[in-house]
Symmetry: C2
Subunit: 405 residues, 2 copies
């Protein structure tokens, strides 16, 4: 390899595991002989401004590497920048490759979700038509777990563990009074219900878990749901419903759309699904209702990381660096599950064209017949991903993070 250096960036929404992948990229690159590992601040957008740092400055310390693995959000910062269509001589691409040349970059790693894989695809396509030897490798991350090809995405396991734990606590909290109540818990996921489905992992011998799970994959027949809910409340006083922020009615319209025009939030449009349902059910059934929006906490809760997730995130980052060094480009690293029990996944790589801009939803056969829960297929799939706890590094009572850049 002529070029000596590697640059890595993070993009899209924060997760509790994306920094572990960054740690993996750094450690892998250094162990495999890369001279300098650069980080781009705020993803490709920062790169265009030449906002670039040398990661040796902070990550040569192994304690900092461990802290980085336990730090939520994106250490390098993130962006939501979509590259233009690939065209020879395009100004944006020329600028990017000029900067990469200047820093003697041989390998470009981007850690992110759907949009980030689109960036890898475009940059590798551009390199190809321009004869550049820079290698472009995508490392997946998203709490939404909606990337195709890969069995699952880093970040999902930790968010799912947080959801399951929080739901188990909300279930306990909800049955404290001797009355009839329905608690709606709103969970992230606009088109894919993976995280909302993770609420089912709260169910065990000492906890009922949620009573219903409303997924965006299934059009919600509100009238039918109210009937089934009403029936259930004949025998059970306090009900907990996990609901995706993105659920739609049977016509494909977001159920809270009408309300959005009159709400007092100033929020993005889909927020308020739980609040909408809480109001509706209170009116229809005359019972106490509550809306709990787990919100940004679910993607940032590094204090409750899944060890499986953090280890896998690190490894897929490490092997992403290796894939670049080995000469691969235009690929995304992915997990292939070998066994459910005992759980074993291995890291592979796939053509980026199979991934970019495609969303993976929960298979229909993993959803219960009435559409209001998930079945054992989902549980077997998801349970291994939330297993294990990291040894928290705690100072003054709260988990330590790496110092912000």
């Amino acid at each position: 390899m002529e070029r000596k250096n590697l640059i890595v960036g993070q993009s899209g929404g924060p997760t509790a595991a994306i920094n572990s992948s960054l740690a993996g990229v750094y450690v892998g690159a250094k162990e495999l002989g890369i001279d300098t590992v650069y980080g781009m601040r705020y993803g490709i957008e920062g790169l265009l401004k030449e906002n670039i740092i040398n990661l040796d400055d902070t990550l040569e310390s192994t304690l900092n590497v461990e802290l980085l693995k336990r730090t939520p959000s994106s250490y390098l910062g993130s962006c939501r920048y979509k590259l233009p269509e690939v065209k020879k001589g395009d100004e944006v691409y020329e600028k990017i490759f000029e900067i990469l040349d200047k820093y003697n970059i041989g390998i470009f790693i981007y850690i992110g979700g759907n949009d980030s894989m689109d960036t890898i695809k475009k940059l590798s396509d551009y390199a190809k038509i321009n004869g550049s030897k820079i290698r472009f490798v995508g490392v997946p991350k998203t709490i939404d777990n909606d990337l195709p090809v890969t069995d699952h995405t880093p970040g999902f396991g930790s968010a799912a563990k947080y959801i399951a734990t929080s739901i188990s606590e909300i279930v306990r909290d909800s049955n404290v009074y001797d009355l009839k109540s329905v608690t709606f818990v709103e969970i992230m996921g606009r088109n894919a219900g993976w995280l909302t489905a993770a609420a089912a992992l709260a169910k065990n011998k000492s906890n009922d878990g949620p009573d219903f799970i409303l997924l965006p994959e299934i059009g919600l027949d509100l009238k039918k749901f109210i009937g089934i809910l009403s029936d259930r409340m004949q025998t059970k006083g306090n009900i907990v419903v996990a609901v995706s922020e993105g659920i739609k009615d049977t016509n494909g319209h977001h159920i809270s759309e009408d309300e959005c025009n009159v709400d007092a939030f100033g929020h993005k449009m889909l927020s308020g699904t739980a609040a909408f349902l809480a109001k509706k059910i209170k009116t229809e059934l005359g019972v106490k209702t509550r809306a709990v929006e787990i919100n940004t906490l679910q993607r940032a809760a590094a204090h409750l990381q899944s060890k499986t997730d953090i280890d896998e995130a690190f490894n897929i980052g490490f092997l992403g660096a290796k894939a670049g060094i080995d000469g691969n480009t235009g690929v995304m690293m992915n997990f292939e599950r070998v066994e459910n029990s005992p759980y074993l996944s291995i890291v592979k790589k796939c053509d980026i064209n199979l991934v970019a801009n495609i969303e993976k939803c929960i298979p229909g056969e993993w959803i219960s017949e009435d559409g209001f829960y998930v079945n054992e297929h989902f549980i077997q799939y998801a349970k291994p991903l939330i297993m294990g706890e990291l040894s928290n590094i705690v100072c003054d009572g709260i988990q330590s993070h790496i110092k912000s850049l």
Copy 2:
């Protein structure tokens, strides 16, 4: 002591520590020679329906005692029932004492907040004027930390640890994009800002913590706040504001009151303070804003208990049982702080009349001069209470609880 048995109940809102006090009452009572320890379901309301269980059935198992300490919410169930004024011959009181006689109760322990201490006061007063020898002892709990006399209340430390940890994560989450933004995090506490102030514990060498803390003790001058916020944003892009659900304007009106009439929640009136501020600041300063309501999660988050809190909750329950056995009645158990560093508190008891129906707010001299933060006095007070982590008992990736009744 003629009577052989003890009955214990829980009342008011759930916390992550109230069950540890229940465990302490049970273990203390058994170790000190009580025959049978009964639990009333749903507090005094359940007692009136003779909804009573024998706690030996579940708590003779030491594993169950450990699980109980790690279970959030109220194991026995709760109520918000206010006893009528004490009057000889009153039907409600006659019924209560009749049931206590039937179960041969010598000691009545009630674990709860302000209202529960009112119950202890009234029952002990009634016993006095009727010559009953039953002893009534209050064991404090409330995440709000607003009981007088006691240095702090069980439940506050764990909720404060959760708030501080979550805020530190939200701060990381908020600065991921290269833009101007303000995130409002709404925290429980209507009249006392103890929990909101706990956000300050997120600040350390690697985390900025919240930039502002808006407390209900201070009337919010919105115009002044917007000015200071705008100044701060000249030098800092992403701002996090911890805000109490109960903050009022300088005239003593809840700042979101006007909005409540038109909101789409169906919630209790004060909800939506963060949403109100997010909307207001977006309009006034033209920056991206977000509202995060931590909601019920902060009182139920048993997965992040403070070991100091859980140990103290257990001990104060244990010593509450002992106080009753020793002949005390009409008392609440309380903490007296001996040292801040190294931290040491001891358990005492005080006259229930000093406690019932009185709210304790943050002292003015613990709040920063401009009214938008807390100072070192608060930090020294609160930090010891969030210290230490419990060894979680985890099955299938999530913390185990005792089986629901």
